[in-house]
C-alpha cells in the first residue's frame, strides 16, 4: 500500500498548486485537485493515477540520466 507525495498533476507538496487558499502544506489537501478528481468517473481516476505514475517515472529517469552524465 505504497503511495507517494505527488499528486496526479505531478506536483509535490508545497509546489505551486494553484490559488493559495486551496491548499496548506501541512495537510496537503488541495481542494481544487480534489474537485477535479471527484468530477471524474472511478475508471478515469484510475487512468489518471497511471498517467501520473508514468510522468513520475519519466521525470525520475531524466534526473538519473542527468546525474549519470555529470
Amino acid at each position: 500500500m505504497k503511495a507517494s507525495l505527488i499528486n496526479p498533476r505531478g506536483q509535490a507538496p508545497g509546489s505551486d498548486n494553484g490559488p493559495a487558499d486551496c491548499t496548506t502544506p501541512s495537510d496537503f489537501i488541495d481542494l481544487s485537485l480534489l474537485e477535479d478528481s471527484l468530477a471524474k468517473t472511478v475508471w478515469e481516476r484510475m487512468l489518471a493515477n497511471d498517467d501520473a505514475l508514468r510522468l513520475a517515472d519519466l521525470l525520475q529517469s531524466a534526473v538519473l540520466r542527468r546525474r549519470a552524465k555529470s
Binding site: 503511495a3 507525495l5 499528486n7 495537510d27 496537503f28 472511478v42 484510475m46 493515477n49 508514468r54
Partner: protein, 159 residues
C-alpha cells in the same frame, strides 16, 4: 511500465473474487495521491488463487518472496498462504487474506461497494472501511489519505 488499471481489468475479467483495497481504492474514491501498486483482499481458496495466477499469467508474475521463480501455485501452497505478494510486468499486486482494522475477506466484502468499470463490475472497500484500514496502518501517507477520504466523505454527505 506500470499499469494498475490494466492489472485491475485482468483481475475482473478473470472473475477473481476480490475487493480492491489500499491506495488504489483510495484513488477510486477520489483521493489525489498516487499509488504504485494494486492491493486486493481476496478469498484464499485454491480456485481463486488459480484465477489470480491465470489473470496475471502473461505478465511474468513472480512471488516477491521467490524472485526468479515463475508463479506456479501448488495445492499445498494455496492451502498455507495467508498473503501473496506478486511482481508483474505491469506492476505489483499484493493479495491479502485479511485487512488490518476490518478482518477477513468476508468482513472486507461486507464493507465494500460495487462499482461499474468499462469491462465489468469491481468491488472496492467503501470509504468508511478504507478510513478504518488506513487509520489502523497509520503510516505518514495513510494519515494524509485519511484526511482526503474524510473530506471526500464530507462532500458526499453534504451533497
Amino acid at each position: 511500465m506500470q499499469n494498475l488499471s490494466e492489472l485491475t481489468r485482468r483481475l475482473v475479467e478473470a472473475q477473481v473474487e476480490f475487493v480492491l483495497i489500499g491506495g488504489f481504492a483510495a484513488v477510486a474514491h477520489g483521493a489525489t495521491l498516487v499509488t504504485r501498486d494494486v492491493d486486493i483482499c481476496c478469498r484464499f481458496s485454491e480456485a481463486n488463487l488459480k484465477r489470480i495466477q491465470h489473470a496475471l499469467g502473461q505478465l511474468d508474475p513472480v512471488q516477491s518472496s521467490r524472485p526468479g521463480l515463475p508463479l506456479d501455485l501448488t495445492p499445498e501452497q494455496c492451502s498455507s498462504l495467508k498473503n501473496l505478494y506478486l511482481k508483474t510486468d505491469l506492476g505489483i499486486v499484493d493479495c491479502l487474506s485479511e485487512v488490518l482494522g476490518i478482518g477477513d475477506f468476508d468482513a472486507v466484502s461486507k464493507q465494500s461497494l460495487e462499482v461499474e468499470l468499462p469491462f465489468g463490475h469491481c468491488r472496492i472497500l467503501d470509504i468508511d472501511g478504507l478510513i478504518r484500514a488506513k487509520e489502523a496502518m497509520n503510516r505518514d501517507h495513510d494519515r494524509i489519505t485519511v484526511r482526503q477520504l474524510k473530506e471526500i466523505k464530507n462532500r458526499q454527505q453534504s451533497g
